[in-house]
Symmetry: C2
């Protein structure tokens, strides 16, 4: 008998509102007509990429609150994090608001970690409302993790494109809205991948581990979900997660969708798709939740994935530990 790592929310916190802001490249794709703000210029009127990233996140948080019909003083806590060193986008965005802030770091799985913890806080009655939000910016991520754009480096075909965008949602008690019914906490998985240009392959085992544990802990299978939504595995990583879950007896191929694979037009031999904390944050909080609210998807398992490396750990010869937190969303 395996131990359960799934937490159940008896009072099923609801998603009261959601919002997304996305960059110019992103607005040309599937989320373009669903995002609340689409930027013509990815600098968003700021002087640096990092400040633009922070402004997107802050704007998404403001929009989430505005769309819920609540005021800033009705918000009990913000749970947020991002990819930048010391999560400065989240911390500086939190400075714009008067409510408390709980800083998280889970790389590109921050969106699902924040929903999982936010749902526990609301469900347990510790807070009435919680904003969960994250984001990323292509240019700030490139210069922090890889090379400054100005160098004009060539990108290998297995590389993904960090999404410029931010998204968030508001959790609270209500008798309507999408419910967060349970969540499976991620474990660190490291299969020894060291290629920092191949995050999809590094993260796929973590996604498979969490998805399989969710099925086992809740006695469900792929057929119980309209959508099994991963965060940013990209085209190759998505193939790997399907293989890994299939090997364990779960065929998710019919209902698996990866936010990174759908956010841009993907031809796998040329391009793997989107990545970054903003990838699943924008896709979930615009396209997916709109479809759920319209009744097209009734039950979604959202399992964002994160690669927990740094330039220092890679420089010191370490492989890439990865994680995936999953939450179940139901209409």
């Amino acid at each position: 008998m395996n131990k359960s790592n799934t937490v159940f929310f008896k009072n099923a916190p609801r998603i009261l509102s959601s919002a997304a802001v996305c960059g110019s490249k992103e607005s040309e794709g599937i989320i373009g007509s669903y995002a609340d703000i689409t930027l013509a210029d990815d600098m968003f009127g700021e002087s640096t990429y990092e400040k633009a990233e922070c402004k997107m996140l802050s704007s998404a948080i403001s929009l989430v609150i505005e769309k819920s019909g609540l005021k800033e003083e009705n918000i009990d806590v913000l749970l947020s994090g991002d990819l930048l060193n010391q999560i400065i986008s989240a911390s500086f965005a939190a400075r714009d608001f008067t409510f408390p802030f709980l800083g998280l770091y889970s790389a590109c799985s921050t969106m699902s970690e924040s929903i999982l913890l936010g749902a526990a806080l609301v469900d347990g009655g510790y807070v009435k409302t919680a904003v969960c939000a994250t984001g990323s910016h292509f240019a700030s991520a490139e210069r922090q993790y890889r090379y400054p754009l100005e160098l004009g480096c060539t990108r290998p075909p297995q590389a993904q494109w960090t999404v410029t965008g931010a998204g968030g949602l508001l959790l609270g008690r209500s008798d309507k809205g999408i419910r967060v019914t349970c969540g499976t906490m991620g474990r660190v998985c490291d299969f020894g991948v060291t290629d920092v240009n191949n995050m999809g392959a590094a993260m796929a085992p973590a996604a498979a581990d969490t998805i399989i544990r969710h099925f086992r802990d809740t006695q469900t299978g792929p057929e119980d979900f309209d959508l099994i939504l991963t965060g940013d595995l990209g085209a190759l990583g998505s193939r790997i997660v399907k293989d890994l879950t299939w090997e364990k007896g779960f065929d998710i191929s019919n209902n698996h969708v990866d936010c990174g694979e759908i956010i841009y037009k993907v031809i796998e031999s040329e391009f793997q798709g989107g990545s970054g904390a903003g990838c699943s944050a924008t896709v979930l909080n615009s396209y997916i939740l709109t479809k759920m609210n319209a009744g097209l998807y009734k039950r979604v398992l959202f399992a964002a994935t994160g690669a927990l490396l740094s330039t220092v750990s890679s420089g010191q010869g370490e492989s890439i530990p990865c994680i995936s937190h999953a939450v179940r969303l139901e209409v």
Copy 2:
């Protein structure tokens, strides 16, 4: 009427065990005879400072579990974070264990943030046990935030010394042990301080804000606590937090103690004391909890503070946003 930012734990999760690992300089101070492991060599047998930091944290987590009498399979989740970019110490330490990991970032207030969230998860029945841990290393912090030690830079008198050490505790349900009865979530406070060598002054307003809100939310005052314990304000910051709370009508001067001020011998004109996530983690999880278990302190408000800056934010001319999360510990 101000809104409450304090969460109450009706079932009062208990501290089942705690452990601390500290470096050579730290072992000469007050925690030397209380820590479980004191290092003769701060490299801890590793090839880099970052790996040594990770090993300290991993050792502290192992010790916490061992001292509780439980096994790894009895642990439901680890809540941890640290100061390094992308919290690699915590992520790589989590790789050593099979239980889930929730990554946090709250700079030097990670210890209290982890207890606050861990207590909510245990109190609400979402998990049975939660390990909360963090740490830091002088040499890895210096080269990431300031200059590599090899440069031999002169330190200004208002600078603090990042503690080499890690500490953690295990929360769970029990009928004995120190109780975590409530916690006040921190808000981001920024008084415009830009001097990265003067963290105490930057963080003191955040500590004062949280301590005062805790008093108001719980209808208590300084006299209700045996100890009001801040994390790493240092000598100057401690003076400032006393002034700021005094201005609002709360005189904490008789029972305020700062972990950073007591961890080393401090002469304020020469040296401000310790800092870093490991500062409050080692002092709380060795010296303070031992005294509480012995009945010397019955009620402690633990309010660790964090400076949410990065080298990038400082380089871009930003001031230092700070935060403090507080938890109340009772015998």
